[in-house]
Structures are given as structure tokens and as C-alpha cells.
Symmetry: C2
Amino acid sequence: MDSSKSKELEERLREAGLRVTATRVEVYEFLRELGGHHSVDDIFKALTERGHKIPRMTVYNVVTDLEGVGLLMCADAGPGRALYEVADVWHHHYVCRVCGTIFDVPCLVGEKPCLTPPGTLPGSVDEAQVIFRGVCRDCSGSEKGVNE
Amino acid sequence: MDSSKSKELEERLREAGLRVTATRVEVYEFLRELGGHHSVDDIFKALTERGHKIPRMTVYNVVTDLEGVGLLMCADAGPGRALYEVADVWHHHYVCRVCGTIFDVPCLVGEKPCLTPPGTLPGSVDEAQVIFRGVCRDCSGSEKGVNE
DNA sequence: GTTCTATTTTGATTATGTCAAATGTGTTCG
DNA sequence: CGAACACATTTGACATAATCAAAATAGAAC
């Protein structure tokens, strides 16, 4: 149940000419098992607490490499730190204005680019990422308090 | 041709209970005249070179205040530093993967939220911001060189 | 003009990300 | 198997972005 995905990871890495290293597998597995969107520092701290002594710089290297191969993607959720997640099916994001929580929003089309560009664009389009903003149900009830 | 906009700025500030200060007017005018998307540091440096000695911190304060009032908006163009622009008509953004240039993309609807949320969302939606990514014409011609 | 309070300023501090050189480790090939 | 090469990781310094608290300043109302 795990080895199949790991095998796939190994293959994807080799296909791309990247070596299969413990660090890369760890970072990928961490993101895949935990799910959600995580910053480099999240990953760094989590793996450190798990006992894996790993420099922050290495996490940057790894996520950049894995993103280049298409195994991870950088979630668009507004400015700030980059948030990474396992690149599975193409989807969008909903960001709560109050608590900042990020929810995945399934894409109706399911693959990039999913939106028909309006009129003319200044170049080719290979991706259309949507960020929905609003107040999530948890926050609309109790309004204040959660994060402000 | 300028005073009308300035008057409007003053009114919007007063309406929101904010004071009309030289700094706020300067920052707003700078962004409106120059157009485009600018980081806090862009604004800081530009105003400094123009002879206005203004601390970076103050620029942060001002853009945050003006954004809160709805006079500025923070452009979604991926992670990294926050980019501000005058909040005029609702639109989206096209980001070139090679040179990083950001182009405005007119919205077909023109007002928020412009997209019909797919199915159910975890809360209310007041905004749907789209980021188109691809390679702009300038870069697709000469491929490499521009930024890589 | 005086007063009150929002705003600006100052300086320190945290978070985030990048660079270059030294070290270590997969992988390949003899 | 084991040596050698190239790719990865590590180290530590550095660069950039953003935040905080408290003191100084300047709108706006009276």
C-alpha cells in the first residue's frame, strides 16, 4: 500500500535523471502521508522532530527538484512563503480570510489548463490556477477570535 | 485631471475613518501614476529616489491601510513578496514562467466574484482570483537567456 | 493655538530564501 | 566487488521580506 507509491516515486525520479536518495523519499512521503499544504519550514521542523536531522537548505533543494519533476507542486495561495503539496490531480484553492486555512477545491476539468483564457493573452498558457477567497464556515459562525 | 482622483482618495480615506496624510497620498499617487504591480521595496526605493525620505516600515503601514480600505489590492502572482496595485477594475494576472513579468488579464465579468464556484465550497466566496501561467511572446522567441 | 489620538518613525527581531564551496553518497562501469 | 565520477547534501554566511514595540510626530477637532 506504500511500496507501490514508493516504486512510482523511484521511477519518476530515475526517468527525470534524478537520483533516488533517502532525503527525497522522506520529504515526498511526508507530504503525501500528511497531505495538505506545507512550507519548507514546516517540512524541516517536522522531519527534524521525527529524528531526521536534515538541513533547511536541503529541504529547499529537494522540493525544488521534486517540483521540477512534477512530483510536487507549489500551491498558489497568495503572497508569502511557498507552500508545497503532492502533485496529484489538478485542483484549485480556497483561502479563508479570517483563519487563513487553505482548502483544496476540485477542478471541474481536472487538468491544466482548465480555464479558457479570456480573449487574447500575452503568450501561451499551460496553467490556470484559481484562488477563491472568503470566510469559511468555522469562522463565519464565531466571527472574530480565530486569528484576529 | 489629477485633483479629481485626489479628492476621491481623500474622501475614501475619511469615510473609512483614516486620516489624510502626505505619505498615504504619495504612495497611492505613485502606484496610480506608474501603474503595474510593485513590492513594498519598489515603492520605498522609488519614493526615496524622488527625494521623499520615507522609512520602509511606513510603506508597509500605508499599503496595509490602503488595502484595508479597498484603495489598493494585493496582486496574486504566486508566492514571494506581496505586490500591490491600485484597485480599479477587477482583473486577473498572467505570469511568464521565464521572465516573471506580470500582465493584467481583463476579467470577462469585471467584478468579484467572477467565477461560479464548482460545487460546494467550505464557506462563502467573495473573490475568485485567477493566475494564468505560461511563456510570454518575448520569451518564447528567444527561449533561453532572458532569465535563465 | 491646544489637545487628543492616529500615524510615522526608529531600531531590533523574526521569517524566508539564496549563494558558494566543501563534503558525502548513488550509480555505473571495469 | 570496488573504484571513480557526477550528482546530492551539508555547512555557514548572506540577502531579502516582513513584523513588533515603543517613542516621536503630526492630523483634526475644539
